[in-house]
């Protein structure tokens, strides 16, 4: 029990997975690549939620399950909790992580930025970063679905390494 793996390996696997799906398998279909990466995350989240909810009482409502994701689930995955949780009390939750672990080592290539001036370059950067967020989105969706909460999850990058996940629970 409790086999460990180096964090750099996980980082590298994630980066490699995203680049393989985006540039090799579905080079011209970014939506399809995104969907596949999200599906992998879904399965991972589905399995992890089973493991991490062992030995704890059942959740009574949605908020309790979301709190579990923010605290225990996030700590198990990223060794930290979600920094800020907002909700409109009508099924939408915003989970904000001020230093999302899988984005901390990511930076914008300065040369690239100066060449593609203005909007086009920025757009490309945003697209590349958001590709890396489909996997964690899938993890959250998989975990919540397994806990009996069907939902849609999207990610939002404000300024690197901070990012927020928007969870919309389907009624």
């Amino acid at each position: 029990m409790g086999r460990e793996v180096a964090e750099s390996c996980v980082d590298s696997l994630l980066t490699e997975m995203v680049s393989t799906y985006c540039h090799r398998f579905y080079a011209n279909k970014p939506e399809l690549a995104a969907r596949r990466i999200e599906a992998i995350g879904y399965q991972v989240g589905h399995q992890l939620s089973e493991r991490y909810t062992m030995e704890r009482p059942r959740f009574t409502d949605h908020l309790e399950a979301i709190k579990f994701i923010c605290k225990d689930f996030w700590s198990e995955l990223f060794k930290k909790q979600i920094d800020n949780l907002k909700t409109n009390h009508r099924g939408t939750f915003v989970l904000q992580d001020n230093r999302f672990r899988w984005l901390t080592r990511m930076s914008v290539d300065p040369q690239n930025e100066s060449q593609d001036n203005s909007a086009d370059g920025e757009n490309k950067v945003a697209q590349a970063t958001s590709m890396h967020l489909y996997f964690p989105c899938g993890i959250i969706r998989g975990a919540l679905s397994n806990l009996g909460i069907p939902c849609a999850v999207s990610a939002d990058i404000s300024n690197l390494p901070a990012c927020s996940f928007v969870v919309r629970i389907k009624a």
Binding site: Q43, H46, Q47, S49, E50, R51, T53, M54, E55, R56, P57, R58, F59, T60, N146, L147, G148
Partner: protein, 143 residues
Amino acid sequence: MIVCVAVVGHQNNPLYIQSFTEADDALKLHHIVHCSLDVVDERVNNPRKSGPTLNETFLGLLYPTENYKVYGYLTNTKVKFIMVTTDLDVRDADVRSFFRRFHAAYVDAVSNPFHVPGKKITSKTFAESVSTIVKSFGFSSAI
């Protein structure tokens, strides 16, 4: 002695059912497991208002029959574990630890990337670990 164990999915679909008797009574045991699902639903929908046991995964004794006692366990992901035993004098702590180990074995089985969620568990490793857990239950309660 434990005569039957079962894992039932969140839509009451059987994921794994195994009896441990020499006699040809598998159908009878399956029937007992089937009946226990209603008791699980009843327990969950009308929880006893008794502080710490509220929403606990371990549901305790579901119902006794003439020859058997049926115990239940419900995970956060709405997967039910059912256990049928012939022992009449069972300690709660033993059953709890049995279910804890059973749950751990289940988690390992579904974490297999080749397992399809919602389908029956066909893993041999899971079957082996379950029968080990079942055997050790009989052993520890004998002492």
